[in-house]
């Protein structure tokens, strides 16, 4: 397996506040990796660091052989890393289709994901292509957010709390979609508070607690007591 992205001894800061401490993390082509942990454990910080929204040490993050820790977000997306941010964060004054098109702003790769294939994957969005995103349901908004990220045809897709606030049936749909994306060769990181949901689909997982990796492995080899201990720090 080719390692796509590797974080080594990653420390991340918000001003003076340190949110991550020496995190080691890696993901290979074609796998879904879950990052679990309680509120404030540093999960989102890890994704933001990878996506370039937080500035890090130059060599703390490697994309293949390239050190990208200090790349700004607008350049990171050009490498093939896309983030579905927590809370969806769609552009409220843009229509569904415009939100998707903004996702393809870089225009570096146009296959496999373009408007047609995203609409095929989420048919409901095709019907609502000219609506403002503010009038969509939560599940539809999440589809737009994922579609928007896919439009850049990423090699690595980062998903931050995509099941939050959605009906279970919608969540199932979305995770089925992620599995398909993975099967297409894209690596996927899912950050979740819902351990069961996350582990069900993941090939591997990391458990963060207070900014440190407490546990990692495959879902099958970890028993729930160990995970609970790593999650809550008991």
């Amino acid at each position: 397996m080719t390692i796509l992205l590797r974080a080594s001894a990653l420390d991340a800061f918000y001003g003076d506040f340190q949110a991550l401490f020496g995190v080691n993390f890696q993901i290979a082509r074609g796998e879904i990796v879950a990052v679990i942990g309680a509120n404030g454990a540093g999960k989102s910080t890890l994704l933001k660091s990878i996506a370039g929204l937080i500035d890090n040490r130059h060599d703390a993050l490697r994309w293949g052989d390239e050190a990208i820790g200090d790349r700004p977000a607008a350049e990171v997306v050009r490498l093939g890393i896309a983030l579905v941010p927590e809370g969806r964060q769609l552009f409220p004054s843009l229509t569904v289709e415009e939100n998707l098109l903004v996702g393809a702003y870089c225009g570096l790769r146009s296959a496999p994901w373009d408007l047609t294939s995203v609409y095929d994957a989420f048919p409901v969005l095709r019907e609502r292509r000219d609506s403002r995103v503010t009038v969509l349901s939560g599940g539809q908004q999440q589809m737009v957010a994922i579609g928007r990220a896919l439009m850049s045809n990423p090699t690595l897709l980062l998903c931050d709390e995509i099941s939050l606030g959605l009906a279970p049936i919608v969540v199932e749909d979305i995770y089925r979609m992620l599995a398909r994306i993975r099967d297409g060769g894209t690596a996927v990181v899912v950050v979740e508070q819902d351990i069961v949901r996350a582990l069900k689909s993941a090939d591997r997982f990391y458990c963060l607690q207070e900014g440190r990796i407490r546990l990692s492995g495959t879902p099958s080899e970890a028993d729930s007591d160990t995970i609970t201990a790593a999650y809550f720090g008991t």
């Binding site: 996506a51 370039g52 929204l53 700004p72 977000a73 607008a74 350049e75 997306v77 050009r78 896309a82 983030l83 941010p85 964060q89 552009f91 409220p92 004054s93 843009l94 415009e98 098109l101 903004v102 996702g103 702003y105 870089c106 225009g107 928007r148 850049s152």
Partner: protein
């Protein structure tokens, strides 16, 4: 009866001029929340640029205008990259003060270079030509062209905003700059282009100003105020609203001037204050992309 029609016509035409003044201001506020207090003086600067390249260096007005559009775009781009970018942030005071300082600098630099004399752009027969819209209703060719220019500029900007990739990038950045970066949008570049476009549009305003009336280095702040009134009356963030706002100011000024020539400007200000009292968010709030 005909007199009122005339007042309305003249007011609407004047509104076209004010809308042109206002478009650049409206644009940068909509995209980056920048209130550019130097906007009026930059329009006057553009007018002097066209004056210098046409009347003094002998280029045709059209060529001089095109040249000025390119030059002002570059000026705007650099201004944002090297000056404004450093002070744009959560605090409202720094950008206000920097643009205010810029206003004083531009004004006095023009005064030192060109003196305080009134100038005018030479546009030949165009300046004084007129067309009859109806019996007994003649309108000047220059004012009519200005209004048409304002409509064309707005239409072009709307096209840019709603039909192009960079337009979507503008709107996405206005909505949420951080997330826009995740799409690969370079916010610094987008903002610099926005200021560039704002100043490029101001050239159109400058030419219409210079052909219609005399200008001198000190008239910038007054243009800023008319522009500002048009933006606020129209409702923040709506370009067509800005055109309507310009017309409200224009009609108010024309009515004021009919009653007493000294009341022209005051009538415009009072109309603005009245709208502020009755509809503080403008006549067309939230039209276009809303300004939060």
């Amino acid at each position: 009866m005909m007199d009122w029609l005339d007042v309305a016509t003249q007011g609407i035409l004047l509104g076209g001029v004010y809308a042109l003044f206002a478009l650049g201001l409206s644009l940068v506020f909509g995209i980056m929340r920048l209130v550019n207090l130097a906007h009026g003086d930059l329009i006057v600067l553009a007018a002097y640029f066209v004056l210098f390249t046409s009347s003094m260096a002998g280029l045709p007005l059209g060529v001089a205008t095109a040249l000025a559009i390119a030059a002002m775009f570059v000026l705007g781009y650099l201004l944002q990259r090297f000056v404004l970018e450093r002070v744009l942030g959560d605090e409202i005071m720094p950008p206000l003060l920097v643009t205010f300082g810029l206003s004083v600098i531009v004004q006095n630099a023009l005064l030192l270079t060109f003196g305080a004399d009134s100038r005018r752009l030479q546009a030949g027969a165009f300046e004084t030509g007129s067309v009859s819209l109806a019996p007994a209703l003649k309108v000047g060719l220059a004012p009519l062209t200005t209004l048409v220019a304002a409509v064309i500029v707005i239409a072009l900007l709307q096209l840019l905003f709603y039909k192009t990739s960079i337009g979507r990038a503008f709107r996405a950045t206005a909505d949420n700059p951080e997330i826009a970066q995740l799409m690969g949008i370079n916010q610094r570049r987008i903002f610099a282009i926005a200021v560039g476009i704002s100043l490029a549009v101001s050239v159109v305003a400058a030419v219409s100003l210079g052909v219609r009336a005399n200008f001198d280095p000190s008239i910038g702040p007054a243009r800023l105020l008319y522009a500002f009134e048009a933006v606020i009356i129209g409702g923040l963030g709506s370009l067509w609203g800005t055109l309507a706002g310009g017309m409200v100011v224009g009609i108010a000024q024309t009515i004021g001037a009919r009653i007493n020539p000294e009341w022209q400007i005051l009538a415009g200000h009072l109309a603005f204050l009245a709208v502020l009292m009755i509809k503080p968010r403008g006549l067309f709030p939230g039209a276009g992309h809303d300004a939060r």
